[in-house]
Amino acid sequence: MTGPSSAVVRVDAAPQPIRLRLTFTLLGYGALALLACLVAPLVGSTPISVSRAFDRSVPFADNIDAQIFFLARMPRVLAGAVVGAALASAGVVLQALLRNPLATPFTLGISAGAALGAMLAISAGAAVALGPISSVPLASLAGAFLATALVYALATRPGRPMSTAVLLLAGVTLNSFFSALILFVQYMADFAEAYRTVRWLMGDLDVGGFGPIAGILPLVLVAFALFATLPSSLNLLSVGADIAATRGVDVARTERRAFLSAALATSAAVALAGPIGFIGIVVPHLVRLMTGADHRVVLPASALFGAAFLVGCDLVARTVLAPVEMPVGIVTAMIGGPFFLWLLVRKA
């Protein structure tokens, strides 16, 4: 309780420096994210010449360096940035909404719904596509939306604010329920498909071009537009719904918005790259340890740091065992876990 409330007090007592602090933080984290996105495409399992990659005199169809740079690496880096930002922000919002530091984008059953959709599409061998979104991401989006609708319906009663306790319990229960269905689908699938479903659960940013990213980008943009309206209310909400209400926050509306925007960001991220773990919990806490608890700073800083972190992890994932790759979800946990513990011990 002391953490968030002291943050609120600090914000109230010193309203002036926030703008300055926000500017500095965003510049710092923005530079980090930009640096990650600029350096990552230069490094990979194959040495390439950057000058040749940008050499317009060689036809693109013959320029392998250019193809590796623009067709293989840039989409991955972009996918990493989008997914990292989406998962980290969703983590911040859900931790505030549920007033629970252990909440992650995967707590509410949305990713499990997405995973169930993906499992079904993989084991059915479905080959339908909607524009640039192929069958597996499409099915996983459908699963995520279904789970979101279910959790939302369970946690809301007409004329009453959303119950965050029910939200949390419904999410956790739905997670277990979907996990059982996932196991069932995997058990019924043949070997090759069962292995592919397991691989999907480890997360993968090799999305195969810009198309799939463009396909989910509208969802991410809507989610971020909603995120942008939240920080001040989240500061008060994380202290308590009653206190927030007395300070003029429309609690029901804020909670609805927080849930739906986090659900949307999570759905899009998981549909694109699978449930990449650890970002949604580690990045928000890391950022809080470095910047304090004010959501006006934490939310944008987490988005930027999440982007940089995932792009960096993917860089490790695709180079460390080259020419074989390591699933990025393993890297996020192996780097994020010890780093987080170190920060925790150092601060304590």
Partner: protein, 286 residues
């Protein structure tokens, strides 16, 4: 008293098992489809009493009882069939222990390369009383492989990407053959150079970047379960155009081979190797 009776039964069972071990198996349950095929190919078909849930070749197995598979063997039904030999996967320790308890011999199969395949066939012949049948079949397969090797000898050895798994309509979740295992060796006999031959694994999951860098001349997509047919061929072929510098993409040398026999390390590998060779060196078969 009861304990002594149990001990006596166990001793009798063990003696029966030992006695059975001395002579060829008469009632065989096979949980490994590749070995079921081998049993029929070497002349032990009539001794097969039951097969796994995944068995569908040769056609004779369709009327036999299906008694589970790698993860879910139906122990009770297997015991009820009173086999004297059960062909299991190496990893089915629990099942092997249970069968040993019932005095039933097991033949443990471990997946491997072509040498392992011939060794398995030889051992299977010895265990089922068909050593000559096994030797004859092995020789026939060797000759098929040699014929393919001779056919493509002296020709170039194009760099081949052998794909055996991919998410439909995209280049995601790609599984290709590395430089180990029977598919890699068959590709070698068929006159191709595996672009991932240096990776000593059976299966590799390459990224787009590695695909561009390895630049295969020919792409062979093996579809064991979901065949690519009709209009799908054009659609799935178009997916590869996302990698325009890959020679196979530029020359259109992308082939889809359908059928689950393509990935079974059994007696049909000679025909499969020839199918690989026909795709890689069509001119050699004109």
């Amino acid at each position: 008293m009861a304990a002594r009776a149990q001990g006596l039964i166990l001793a009798v069972a063990l003696a029966a098992g030992a006695a059975a071990g001395a002579q060829p198996a008469a009632r065989i349950v096979s949980l490994v489809p590749a070995l079921t095929e081998m049993l029929f190919a070497i002349g032990a078909g009539p001794q097969v009493a039951a097969v796994s849930n995944y068995d569908d070749f040769p056609p004779e197995v369709k009327t036999l009882p299906h008694v589970g598979a790698l993860l879910d063997p139906d122990v009770e039904r297997i015991l009820a069939l009173r086999p004297d030999l059960v062909i299991t996967y190496k990893s089915q320790d629990a099942l092997e222990a249970q069968l040993a308890g019932a005095g039933i011999k097991t033949f443990s199969y471990r997946h491997g390369n072509l040498d392992a395949l011939f060794r398995t066939m030889h051992d299977l012949g010895a265990a089922t009383g068909h050593p000559a049948g096994a030797a004859g079949k092995a020789e026939e397969i060797r000759q098929q492989l040699e014929a393919v090797r001779a056919r493509v000898a002296g020709r170039g050895r194009p760099r081949v990407l052998l794909v055996f798994g991919r998410e439909p309509q995209t280049l995601r979740q790609l599984y290709v053959s590395g430089g180990a295992g029977f598919l890699h060796e068959m590709l070698d006999i068929a006159g191709g150079t595996n672009v991932f031959g240096d990776v000593r694994r059976e299966s590799v999951q390459p990224s787009q970047e590695t695909l561009l860098a390895r630049a295969p001349d020919v792409i062979l997509e093996v579809r064991a379960t979901r065949p690519v047919l009709g209009t799908e061929v054009g659609r799935e072929r178009a997916v590869w155009s996302a990698l325009p510098s890959v020679p196979a993409v530029r020359t259109g040398r992308i082939h889809f081979l359908n059928g689950d026999h393509l990935v079974v390390p059994g007696p049909r590998i000679g025909a499969v190797t020839e199918a690989f060779a026909r795709a890689i060196h069509p001119e050699a078969f004109q």
